[in-house]
């Protein structure tokens, strides 16, 4: 059963057709990677799904709800968590408070005028931080964290409301290669345990081939290939687009089998 169904998605900016007739689905518990060269339309597609952009045409349904036209906050309430390419956390709050903030919102207590926020949902927050390996840094402020740690905090925040789907825009961008593999392995473990579906974009092919159940390939706004990692890797069209990056595929294959 598919959790997310994208059909006929199209978006143009001025004369540039950023997306044309994009169709795909995401199954329950599946990890789906969206890849493609720069300018292929990945970010546009992502932003249309999470409500930051309104597509010209098409529909995005999540668990039976049409997402087009909903603001990001409503989409989140339906059970979609998200992480950003450049981490976005609350710098003046501690790691734990960042997660607590998401929990406060989830429990619809943002207008509570009197309780102290730091005491709300603390155990739940610590449990989430435990899951991403950040519990020992719970009391540090986000503004002083290392980048890789911020990514983990974001993951904990994204998991806070028990989402059915995670949208991760280049989850490992800006990280060292070793950290990347570790973060995605952690993510994959958590989502498999909890039965969460994931749609992510990524430039690092090692990360993609090691974790994705399935891959879709965008080029110039069009979906040009779809399938298992092995099938996509062998697809001549994909190879042509990535020509010059061919060595990366070799390395990816080696990495995936290692």
């Amino acid at each position: 059963m598919s959790v997310l169904t994208v059909s006929g998605l199209a978006k143009s900016f001025g004369g540039v057709q950023a997306l044309r007739d994009v169709n795909f689905t995401l199954a329950a518990g599946e990890i789906l990677a969206m890849i493609g060269p720069n300018g292929a339309g990945k970010s546009t597609c992502f932003n249309c799904i999470n409500g930051q952009l309104r597509p010209d045409l098409g529909s995005v349904t999540f668990a039976g709800h049409e997402l087009i036209g909903l603001p990001p906050r409503r989409i989140w309430r339906l059970g979609v968590g998200r992480t950003f390419q450049i981490t976005a956390t609350f710098g003046s709050m501690t790691v734990a408070e960042n997660v607590q903030m998401a929990l406060i919102s989830h429990h619809r207590r943002t207008r509570a005028p009197w309780t102290l926020a730091t005491r709300l949902h603390r155990e739940e927050a610590l449990a989430l931080l435990d899951a991403v390996g950040m519990r020992d840094q719970a009391e540090r402020r986000c503004s002083v964290l290392a980048y890789g740690d911020l990514k983990r905090v974001e993951l904990a925040v994204a998991l806070a409301h028990g989402p059915r789907m995670l949208l991760m825009d280049e989850p490992t961008a800006g990280m060292a290669p070793k950290e990347r593999i570790a973060l995605m392995a952690l993510t994959a473990g958590i989502v498999h345990d909890r039965g969460i579906s994931v749609l992510f974009t990524e430039h690092d092919m090692d990360v993609v081939f090691a974790n994705a159940d399935r891959i879709i390939v965008l080029n110039r706004g069009e979906l040009i290939a779809e399938g298992t990692p092995a099938a996509v890797r062998d697809n001549p069209m994909v190879q042509e687009i990535y020509l010059g990056a061919g060595s990366m595929f070799g390395a990816a294959a080696a990495g995936a089998h290692a």
């Binding site: 956390t89 609350f90 710098g91 943002t110 207008r111 509570a112 806070a160």
Partner: protein, 618 residues
């Protein structure tokens, strides 16, 4: 027919001189991001200097034009002096500090004008050879007005050439779009900023000097023009010269013809137009959006913790002390301390949205004034008892905040600040022009407390209680989920939205709460003074609140209280002197330059540097 043509040309002449001043401000803002309050003072100084030069230069008829040009250049030099000595030191500080520092310059300039030119208004000479009127469709237009219109177009053309046909202009346009990129290209930013200030100030001075034959030179020119100029700049789009021109024409024609159709609400009209435009086009007619989404504020000096148990004990001790001393105080100090409490609450109400939500209000006096006028109206006009008015006046203020805040929270940064200023000016205009109800310039008198609260000591206790409860409530709110939600929206709007938070709604609520608290302060001051007047709602009052918050330190809880204390005491001590305004202005400037984190923040930084603080990372 002729009458309308003349009315149109009169409007156009006003538009031309307004454009000169506004173009200067918009250029300065575009490049340096400084909201220069002193721009109105430069305009005034331009007029005064030109007055003296034209009178004394022994050049005959050409003396007028030489005087005008020299005055404009002199004002340019004054602008450079301000930029080099004050602003250059605080470009790194938050935008608001620059604004408050330039307001310090406003105060100094006001006294300087008083010192050099005396308190009377001065009537300038006519422009030589242009003192007649021309007949048009049976009506008469002053020749000089036509010259001013022509000059407006000439300056617009020259600025267009400067910005589109010279290398320097290209650099300035680049700086307006991307300052960081520019410094990466090896442009001397310091020099550029100084040059821009020179150009902008020359335009302000020119605008003032050219007013000589049209109106008398007065000491009220500075603040009366600055509000209009802000409207023009915001309406046109901050940083856009053609926008400023367009907006100047719209505003001037609006008042030229508005006075025929709505003579009662001429003052309100301009601000209403601004509100309508900003709601439809948040960045002005020709302005470009300033990208601020997804740019999280990563400040490390933020409100992080409620006071510790020891801290609370300290506050309780202070309140206990304040409860104990009235017996020992003279009447004079009782009144002074009562005012400190009132202004502490006022400052805390502004701090609530600024520190907690990152929202800046340049017009917080609106809610203070609504509280004060609400109290006066209900008490004096409706005859309600004091107890009821103290409950209802904040509701009036909150209702105003709900209405204005609804629009304000749709914008951010400087645009939000300017819109809030416009709303405050609307309240001011209504209060000023609706004299049947509000008493106009005279205000409302005999706003006395109930008999039981008339005693100074009792009233002292009443204000202390209400202020303490009010401030404590605001603090608790900041650390409740509600306050955290506000902070989330301030730290990273994108993240807040993506965890289901409706930022606008929470900001709106905060705005209302803040307005209500300011309203309590306003109604208390009305009762303390037995009087309300239009100055309660004017620009200086709004700036007072900003100063108190910034003097104390935005990112500390106790800041606004100490800021209010410093402010009230300073004002009291200094008002004995003739030139207290400039002394006050200088102190404000010094605080901005020396303590960009406010008294509390800078005190903490000093303690940290001396190694006295025991704290770690937080």
């Amino acid at each position: 027919m002729g009458f309308y043509v003349v009315q149109f040309l009169t409007g156009l002449a006003s538009a031309a001189s307004l454009f000169l001043v506004a173009s200067g401000l918009t250029i300065i803002f575009g490049v340096t991001r400084v909201v220069n309050f002193a721009h109105g003072s430069f305009y005034m100084l331009g007029a005064f200097i030109a007055y003296s030069l034209v009178k004394t230069l022994p050049l005959g008829p050409t003396g007028f034009w030489v005087g005008v040009v020299l005055a404009a250049l002199a004002v340019g030099v004054i602008g450079v002096v301000m930029e080099v000595t004050i602003l250059r030191r605080i470009y790194q500080a938050p935008e608001l500090f620059q604004l408050v520092a330039t307001f310090g310059v406003v105060m100094v300039a006001k006294d300087a004008a008083l010192l050099f030119w005396g308190p009377e208004d001065r009537l300038g000479p006519r422009a030589p050879g242009l003192n007649k009127a021309i007949e048009l469709f049976g009506s008469r237009v002053p020749e000089y007005d036509l010259v001013v219109i022509a000059l407006g177009f000439v300056v617009l053309g020259l600025l267009w050439l400067l910005f589109n046909r010279t290398r320097w202009g290209a650099v300035v346009r680049a700086a307006t779009q991307d300052r960081e990129m520019l410094s990466a290209l090896g442009i001397n930013q310091k020099l550029l900023f100084t040059a821009v200030f020179f150009l902008g100030s020359v335009l302000a001075g020119l605008g003032g000097a050219l007013q000589l034959p049209r109106a008398s030179v007065s000491h009220q020119m500075d603040l009366s023009i600055i509000a209009t100029v802000f409207v023009v700049v915001v309406l046109g789009g901050m940083g856009s010269i053609p926008g400023a021109f367009l907006a100047a024409v719209i505003i001037s024609e609006l008042s030229a013809f508005g006075i025929l159709i709505f003579p009662k609400i001429t003052l309100v009209l301009m601000f209403l137009v601004m509100v309508v435009v900003l709601v439809a086009r948040p960045f002005g007619i020709l302005g470009k959006p300033v990208p601020d989404v997804g740019e999280p504020v990563q400040s490390d000096e933020t409100l992080t913790r409620l006071p510790s148990a020891l801290g609370w004990a300290g506050y309780v001790a202070v309140v206990a002390l304040l409860l104990a001393i009235p017996m020992l105080l003279s009447e004079f100090y009782l009144v002074l301390w009562t005012q400190v409490f009132i202004f502490a609450l006022f400052a805390a109400s502004l701090h609530f949205i600024m520190g907690g939500g990152g929202m800046v209000s340049f017009g917080h006096a609106a809610y203070f004034g609504l509280g004060g006028y609400g109290c006066a109206m209900l008490l004096v006009r409706a005859g309600l008892p004091m107890e009821a008015t103290l409950l209802l006046a904040p509701v009036v203020a909150a209702a105003g905040a709900a209405l204005f805040g609804y629009f304000c929270v749709r914008l951010s940064g400087v645009y939000m600040a300017m819109l809030s200023l416009a709303f405050a000016q609307i309240v001011w205009s209504v209060v000023f022009q609706w004299s049947d109800v509000t008493g106009g310039e005279d205000g409302v008198n005999r706003v006395w407390p109930s008999p039981w609260a008339k005693d100074r000591v009792v009233f002292y206790y009443l204000t202390l209680t209400l202020a303490a409860v009010g401030i404590f409530t605001l603090w608790r709110l900041l650390f409740a989920p509600f306050g955290y939600t506000l902070r989330a929206g301030r730290d990273s709007p994108m993240r807040a939205e993506s965890i289901g938070i409706d930022i606008r709604f929470h900001r709106w609520l905060a705005f209302i709460i803040s307005g209500a608290a300011a309203g309590v302060a306003g109604s208390l001051l009305a009762l303390a003074k037995g009087f309300v007047g239009p100055t309660w709602v004017d620009i200086p009052r709004s700036i007072d609140a900003l100063m108190m918050v910034l003097i104390g330190g935005v990112q500390t809880l106790v800041g606004p209280i100490l800021g209010a204390l410093t402010f009230v005491i300073l004002e009291d001590r200094l008002s004995a002197f003739d030139y207290w305004r400039s002394a006050f202005g200088l102190i404000i400037i010094l605080i901005c330059v020396l303590m960009p984190k406010g008294i509390v923040g800078s005190g903490r930084a000093l303690i940290g540097r001396l190694g006295l603080g025991g704290g770690g990372e937080r």
